[in-house]
C-alpha cells in the first residue's frame, strides 16, 4: 500500500490537468481510499500514469538477429550486473534484461513489440519472459499471410475471420499487424507492390483488399486494438499518396497508421523528399476513425529492422552496409540494416522535421502516440529528448539550426510555435496509446486502474526531467527510486482470445500438411509454458 500526496497529477483519461491531489494504491491497483502504507510526498513533483510504448521492436527473431549482427553496436554501452539486475548490452538493440530496466528507469511500464511472424511467436514470448519490469505483448504479422490472401481472394469472409482468430490464439498475440500488405509476398520473387491496386502475383488480391478485409475482421472479432498498418511504399519519395489512399481505403473503418513519419514524403521515387505532413494531417483531422504513431527519427546511429523485406533491400542499397533478409514460409519476411541518421543529410533532416511536424500539426492528441518505431527512427531512450523538442520552442529552434538548412527551409517546422503542455505529453505517451490499444486499466490513474505510476521531479529542462523519474511504481510496488532499480519484478504478457468456429481447424490442418514444415499440432504456443504470467484481454464482437 502506498499513498502519494501533494503531487501535481496529470491523468488525461480522468480529465485531471495538474491538480494537486493524493493517490492511493492498494493491492497493485489505484484505490479510492487511503489504506495507509508508505507515504510518498510528491510536493513539487509531477505524477503521471506509467508510460506506454505502443510500437517498438524489442523481442523476437529480427530483433535478435540485429543483436547478433551488430557487436559493434553493443560494446560501448553495457549494463553491469548488480545484486538485483542481470547484466547486458545495449546500443540501438539492447538485450532483453537491459530493455526492461531501461524502459522502467525512464518511467515506462508497458511496451508492445509491433511485428512478430506467427511462426516465431514462441521465440518472441521466450524473449518477453526475459524482459523484466514492463507489461508487454506483441502484434502478429498477417498482411502477407498466404492463407489469408487466399480467403480474401475467394471472398470467404467467415473463414478469414475464423482463421485470424485462430492465429491470434495460436500465437498468443495482442493485435493484427500488417506490413507492406502484399509487398512482402512479392519480395519472395524480388518484386514489390507500388499502389493499393497492384495485384499480388499468384494470389489474386490487392493491398487494398487486404487492408479492408483485415480492418473488417478486427472489428468483427471485437479486438481491443484496431488494425495496425505499416503502409506500402515506406521510405520512398512520393509515398504520401499511397498513405492517403490507404486512409481513404479504410473508408470509415478504424485503422492505426504506424510510424506515419516514414509515410509522409512528397517528391518523385528515387529523388529528394518533401514534407506532405500538412496534407495528411488535414485528412486525419477530419476522419476520427484514423490514428497514428509518429516513428520520430533522431540523429545518430541505429538499426533498421522491418517486416518489410523489400524496404530492407532498399536501405542496403542506399547505405551499402550489412544486410539481413529473412523470408518466413507462407507468412512474412524481414530486413535488417544498420543506419546512421545525419543532421547534415537533406533526406534525414527532412525525416526528422516531418516527425516533429506531425506532433505539432495534429490537432487531436488522442489520436497520435509518441514513438520512434524503436530502434528504426531512434532508440526508445530518446523519448525524453523528443519530449523536450515538443515542449520547449527555444530548444527546438536551436536544434533546427543544427540540421540541414536547405531541407528545413522546405518544411513548415521552423514556423511552428506550438509547445506541448504536460497534459498533452501525458496524452501522447500514456492515455492515447492505452486507449488506442483498448487497455482499460492502463494509461490512467482512476480507481481500479493498474497502479503503474511515474513521479518526476519538476525541472525546466524537460529532457532531464523525463529521463530520470524520481519514482516509478509498477503494480503498486516502488521499483525505481532516483533512477535506480530497487526491486525487480517481471510484468505480464497481454494477449487476446477471440472465439472462432473450430471447423476451420480442419482446413488449416490440410493447408499445413501441404505448405508448412511445422506440424499443425506443434504450431500453437503453449500458454502455461510460454506465458507464465499472462492477461487475456476480452474481445467484444
Amino acid at each position: 500500500m502506498i499513498k502519494i500526496i501533494n503531487g501535481e497529477v496529470y491523468d488525461p483519461i480522468n480529465g485531471i490537468n495538474g491538480e494537486v491531489r493524493d493517490i492511493y494504491v492498494k493491492d497493485g491497483v489505484i484505490s479510492g481510499e487511503d489504506a495507509g502504507g508508505r507515504t510518498i510526498d510528491a510536493s513539487g513533483m509531477v505524477v503521471m500514469p506509467g508510460g506506454l510504448d505502443m510500437h517498438c521492436h524489442i523481442a523476437g527473431p529480427k530483433v535478435n538477429i540485429a543483436r547478433k549482427m551488430r557487436p559493434e553496436d553493443h560494446r560501448g554501452d553495457v549494463q553491469h550486473k548488480t545484486a538485483l539486475m542481470r547484466s547486458g548490452t545495449a546500443g540501438s538493440v539492447p538485450t532483453t534484461f537491459t530493455t526492461g530496466y531501461r524502459y522502467a528507469a525512464m518511467g515506462y511500464t508497458t511496451a508492445f513489440d509491433a511485428a512478430v511472424p506467427p511462426l516465431a511467436a514462441r521465440h518472441a514470448h521466450e524473449e518477453l519472459n526475459d524482459t523484466p519490469v514492463v507489461d508487454k505483448g506483441f502484434y502478429v504479422l498477417m498482411g502477407n499471410n498466404e492463407f489469408i490472401m487466399q480467403q480474401i481472394a475467394a471472398g470467404n469472409k467467415e473463414q478469414l475471420r475464423d482463421f485470424v482468430a485462430w492465429l491470434l490464439q495460436a500465437t498468443k498475440a495482442y493485435a493484427i499487424k500488417i506490413v507492406n500488405p502484399g509487398g512482402v509476398e512479392m519480395w519472395k520473387s524480388l518484386r514489390n507492390v507500388h499502389t493499393l491496386d497492384d495485384q499480388v502475383t499468384g494470389f489474386g488480391v490487392t493491398p487494398r483488399q487486404i487492408i479492408q478485409n483485415l480492418a473488417d475482421t478486427a472489428k468483427d472479432l471485437g479486438l481491443p486494438h484496431r488494425l495496425h498498418i505499416h503502409c506500402n511504399n515506406l521510405g520512398i519519395a512520393g509515398n504520401w499518396q499511397t498513405t492517403l489512399e490507404t486512409m481513404k481505403a479504410l473508408d470509415g473503418r478504424n485503422g492505426h497508421l504506424t510510424h506515419i513519419q516514414f509515410h509522409s514524403y512528397g517528391g518523385e521515387p528515387g529523388g529528394l523528399f518533401q514534407s506532405k505532413t500538412a496534407e495528411l494531417v488535414d485528412y486525419i483531422n477530419n476522419h476520427p476513425n484514423l490514428s497514428v504513431d509518429v516513428g520520430q527519427v533522431m540523429f545518430g546511429d541505429t538499426t533498421s529492422m522491418t517486416g518489410d523485406g523489400p524496404l530492407g533491400y532498399l536501405l542496403y542499397q542506399a547505405t551499402g552496409r550489412k544486410w539481413v533478409n529473412v523470408d518466413v514460409e507462407n507468412e512474412e519476411g524481414c530486413g535488417i540494416v544498420p543506419i546512421e541518421y545525419k543532421d547534415k543529410s537533406y533526406i534525414h533532416a527532412t525525416q526528422w522535421a516531418i516527425g516533429l511536424e506531425w506532433f505539432l500539426m495534429m490537432q487531436d492528441p488522442w489520436r497520435i502516440a509518441l514513438t520512434t518505431d524503436h530502434p528504426n527512427g531512434a532508440s526508445f531512450m530518446s523519448y525524453p529528448r523528443i519530449i523536450r523538442l515538443l515542449m520547449d520552442r527555444e530548444y527546438r529552434k536551436e536544434m533546427i539550426q543544427k540540421a540541414n538548412q536547405k531541407a528545413l527551409a522546405k518544411t513548415t517546422l521552423p514556423d511552428l510555435d506550438r509547445e506541448y503542455s504536460l497534459y498533452e505529453i501525458a496524452i501522447i505517451t500514456r492515455a492515447a496509446p492505452a486507449r488506442l490499444l483498448g487497455l482499460q486499466n492502463k494509461g490512467q490513474l482512476g480507481v481500479g486502474a493498474d497502479a503503474d505510476i511515474t513521479i518526476y521531479d519538476k525541472n525546466s529542462d524537460w529532457e532531464k526531467m523525463f529521463a530520470v523519474p524520481r519514482y516509478v511504481i509498477k503494480n503498486g510496488s516502488v521499483l525505481v527510486e532516483d533512477g535506480e532499480l530497487r526491486e525487480n519484478v517481471f510484468g505480464r504478457t497481454f494477449f487476446v482470445n477471440p472465439s472462432y468456429n473450430p471447423d476451420i481447424e480442419t482446413t488449416i490442418h490440410e493447408y499445413f500438411d501441404k505448405y508448412y514444415t511445422v506440424e499443425f499440432e506443434n504450431y500453437p504456443v503453449q500458454l502455461d509454458h510460454y506465458l507464465p504470467n499472462h492477461v487475456a484481454v476480452d474481445c467484444r464482437p
Binding site: 523481442a59 527473431p61 530483433v63 535478435n64 538477429i65 543483436r67 547478433k68 549482427m69 551488430r70 557487436p71 553493443h74 560494446r75 553495457v78 549494463q79 553491469h80 550486473k81 542481470r86 547484466s87 547486458g88 548490452t89 545495449a90 546500443g91 538493440v93 539492447p94 538485450t95 532483453t96 534484461f97 511462426l119 516465431a120 514462441r122 521465440h123 521466450e126 524473449e127 526475459d130 498466404e146 519472395k188 520473387s189 524480388l190 499468384g202 542496403y316 550489412k322 544486410w323 539481413v324 533478409n325 529473412v326 523470408d327 518466413v328 514460409e329 507462407n330 535488417i336 501441404k514 505448405y515 508448412y516 514444415t517 511445422v518 506440424e519 499440432e521 506443434n522 503453449q526 509454458h529
Partner: protein, 428 residues
C-alpha cells in the same frame, strides 16, 4: 502409449512429425525417424545403471554432486562454461545466468562449428529464409561442404530436395540439386551436379563464382589449383542466374576448413550479389539439435551469439579470446563446466591438455569421454524425451519439445537452478 508429432531434437533439422511408442517405461518403436533419430530415441537411457552424480568416478547423491560442483566453481578464478548445443533453451538460460554470477567465460559448440557463419553475418549480413520457403519455392539447391545424407539424413526428403511445395508442384523434378564438396560423399547420389573442389580451395572457388556472377572475366588457368574447371563454374553461374529461387546450404566443410570465416563471408556475399537479379538465400546446416537455440539465447541475454566473457561484470565478445579452444589452449581457464557436449572427444589436443590439468564438471545424458574424466559428473535427462523445453531449428524456427518418458534424472534446467542456488550460497 503412442505419441505423435514428437520433435526429434538430435540434429538441427528438428523434424517434428515423429511417432514414438512407449511400453513399460521404454521407447520401443519410432516412426518417421532417420537412422540418427531412431538411435537417439531408442538408445535413450542406456546404459541404465549410470548414477545421478559421481565424484571422482564414485557414485554420489545429487546433493553431494551439487555441493562438490559448486565448490569447484566458487573456488575458480576463471571458470569456463561450454557446450549447450544439445539441451533446451530453458537450461541454456540458467547456464548463462551461472556464467554471469561466476564472472567466467561461456562458449557453445557454435564456436567450433558455425561460429564462422556467425562472424560472416557480423561482417556482411545474411540473406536467409525458413525451410518452408525452400520447400515451397526453391528450384536450385546447392549443398556446399555439407553431406546431409549422413549428417542430416531427412534434410533432403523432409524439407528440401524431394518435397512438393506451393510453387514446386512436381517436387524433385522441379529442382536442380548441386553438391559442392572435396569428395564424392554419400549425398552426391541425390545430386544432379557434383563439383569436387581441392581441399582448402573453397574461398577461391566462391570468389571466382562471385566474379562470374558479377560479369567479370576469369582466366581458366587461374582456377588450376582449385580442381574446378571454368566450364563447371560457368555452368553453375548460368544455372544460378536462371533460377527462380536458389538456396545455398552451408556446411562445416566451408566453416571449418582453411579460410573459415572468409569462406563463409565469400558465400554470404555471393548470395547477397545474387539478389540483384535472382532471389537467393543461404541456410547454415546447423548440426546439433539446439545449437541454434544457444546462439539465440546468448544473443538475447548478452548481445552476442557465442564466445562471451563476464569477468568485467558485463558481457564481452571476442572470438579467439573467449572461445573454448583458445581459452583452454592458452592454459587460462582453471575450471571447466561442460553441458551436453563432449569436449574431451571433440576438441584439439592443445585444448585437451588443459582439460587434463583442471577440475572438470560434466553434465550429460549419457556417458562420454568428458564424463569419464570429470571430477564431478551428473546424469541428466534428455530435453525432448525426459523433459520439456524449447529448441530452435537450423532456420531459427522455435519448437516445443515434449516429454514422452518419466526419468529418474533431473533435467539440465532443474540441475542448474539448484547449482546456481548453491553457488550463490558459497559466494555470498
Amino acid at each position: 502409449m503412442q505419441y505423435d508429432h514428437v520433435v526429434c531434437a538430435f540434429c538441427g533439422c528438428l523434424c517434428d512429425d515423429i511417432g514414438v511408442t512407449v511400453e513399460e517405461g521404454q521407447i520401443t518403436q519410432t516412426k518417421n525417424t532417420c537412422v540418427l533419430g531412431k538411435a537417439w530415441f531408442m538408445e535413450h537411457g542406456k546404459p541404465q545403471d549410470l548414477p545421478v552424480a559421481r565424484i571422482n568416478g564414485q557414485p554420489a547423491s545429487l546433493e553431494e554432486g551439487i555441493n562438490a560442483a559448486a565448490e569447484i566453481l566458487a573456488d575458480a578464478h576463471y571458470p569456463m562454461l561450454y557446450g549447450l548445443s544439445s539441451t533446451s533453451c530453458e537450461a541454456q538460460r540458467q547456464v548463462i545466468a551461472l556464467a554471469e554470477i561466476l564472472g567466467g567465460s561461456i562458449d557453445c559448440c557454435t564456436s567450433v562449428c558455425h561460429g564462422p557463419s556467425g562472424m560472416a553475418v557480423q561482417g556482411v549480413g545474411e540473406p536467409t529464409c525458413s525451410l518452408g520457403e525452400v520447400k515451397n519455392r526453391a528450384d536450385l539447391l546447392i549443398y556446399w561442404g555439407s553431406n546431409p545424407a549422413e549428417s542430416h539424413p531427412r534434410h533432403m526428403a523432409h524439407y528440401a530436395v524431394t518435397q512438393k511445395g506451393m510453387f514446386i508442384p512436381n517436387g524433385r523434378k522441379d529442382r536442380t540439386v548441386v553438391m559442392v564438396d572435396v569428395r564424392r560423399s554419400l549425398s552426391a547420389r541425390a545430386a544432379d551436379i557434383v563439383i569436387i573442389i581441392k581441399p582448402g580451395k573453397d574461398y577461391e572457388v566462391l570468389w571466382a563464382l562471385r566474379a562470374l556472377i558479377l560479369g567479370h572475366k576469369i582466366e581458366a588457368d587461374s582456377l588450376a589449383s582449385t580442381g574446378v574447371t571454368l566450364e563447371q563454374l560457368t555452368d553453375l553461374a548460368d544455372r544460378m542466374k536462371k533460377c527462380k529461387f536458389g538456396v545455398i546450404f552451408v556446411g562445416q566443410g566451408l566453416t571449418q576448413s582453411r579460410g573459415k570465416f572468409m569462406n563463409t563471408t565469400a558465400a554470404f556475399l555471393l548470395v547477397r550479389d545474387m539478389n540483384k537479379t535472382n532471389k537467393f538465400a543461404l541456410i547454415p546446416m546447423r548440426g546439433h539439435g539446439n545449437v541454434t537455440g544457444i546462439d539465440n539465447v546468448m544473443a538475447w541475454q548478452t548481445g552476442y551469439p557465442f564466445g562471451v566473457n563476464f569477468s568485467m561484470g558485463y558481457p564481452r565478445f571476442n572470438p579467439g579470446e573467449f572461445t573454448i579452444v583458445d581459452v583452454l589452449s592458452r592454459g587460462e581457464a582453471d575450471a571447466l563446466l561442460s553441458v551436453a557436449s563432449d569436449p574431451v572427444a571433440s576438441l584439439p589436443s592443445t585444448a585437451r591438455r588443459r582439460i587434463n590439468e583442471i577440475p572438470v564438471i560434466a553434465i550429460d545424458t549419457h556417458e562420454s569421454e568428458t564424463t569419464r574424466i570429470a571430477k564431478v559428473a551428473f546424469t541428466t535427462t534428455t530435453a525432448g524425451i525426459g523433459a520439456e523445453g524449447t529448441a530452435y531449428r537450423m532456420d531459427n524456427i522455435p519448437l516445443h519439445l515434449s516429454k514422452v518418458l518419466p526419468s529418474p534424472f533431473p533435467s539440465d534446467e532443474e540441475l542448474f537452478v539448484r547449482l546456481i542456488s548453491r553457488v550463490k550460497e558459497l559466494t555470498s
